[in-house]
Symmetry: C2
Subunit: 152 residues, 2 copies
């Protein structure tokens, strides 16, 4: 397992001053345009609910070009983190490389971290331009332990 | 067209005191258990964003038992409205009977009323108990003019 943020690390931001647990939002972020739309939505929801946003990028790993992909994903996560910091929204970044397909990885992370809401993009087009569900989005919507916000 | 709330009626709740437009949430509500989960989510989001919630029930109509269905749907909308009023969340109810499948009806209503977020349930099981997308939810997620929050 590789996790830049780490589920083992105490997230100091997840406890408010009054001792109550804040809302936790998981943003599935892979640097695509639709993930950027999801990011802006997560900023909005993070502010409205005074939530901590877990920015999660899942890589299955084991493809031979892992180092290159991990470097790119780390850069994308840093970029996303910068936007949340600038907007004053509490966040953590998590790069998951644990051999799971992205949908399963996201659902499992949500369960492990008691996430309250998942935010993700669903844009996926066939060759004839018709919108179709990506299998990742469909899996997450049907298996998530919490509500899922999709943007396209 | 039959619409208990009416898109023609001015929604006095949609303008704040400062003259800015408030956020508009569309709750797809058909009285099922999963719609009730979606309702509670809409209450939470309505409070967080100080939004107006449009509670929408779509009936295609033309099935011969329309009167009975309209009475039941009207009762369900009144019940839902009562919960929002009690929670102090601004709302309108809309019963749509205009010959459209529910997914198309919801998307069109969202477009006509410049809805910011749609909230709906997605629970649907096959005979072997496997979760499947309802065609309504899939259509709405892929065609909505705004983000869609699903609960299952």
């Amino acid at each position: 397992m590789h996790d830049t943020g780490g589920t083992d690390r105490p997230t100091c931001n997840s406890i408010t001053k009054r001792g109550t647990t804040t809302m936790k939002i998981l943003l599935a972020y892979d640097g695509t345009n639709v993930a950027m739309d999801a990011l802006h939505l997560a900023v909005k929801h993070g502010k409205a609910f005074n939530a901590t946003v877990y920015i999660v990028h899942s890589l299955a790993g084991g493809t031979g070009d892992d180092e290159e992909k991990i470097t790119a994903a780390t850069d994308q996560l840093s970029f996303a983190e910068g936007i949340f910091r600038k907007e004053g929204v509490s966040c953590d970044t998590h790069l998951l490389v644990r051999g799971l397909p992205p949908g399963e990885d996201i659902v499992r992370f949500a369960e492990e971290n008691r996430i309250d809401t998942i935010i993700m993009g669903v844009r996926r087009r066939t060759q004839v331009g018709k919108l179709l569900f990506g299998s990742t989005a469909a899996f997450v919507i049907l298996n998530a332990p919490c509500p899922v916000i999709t943007t396209r």
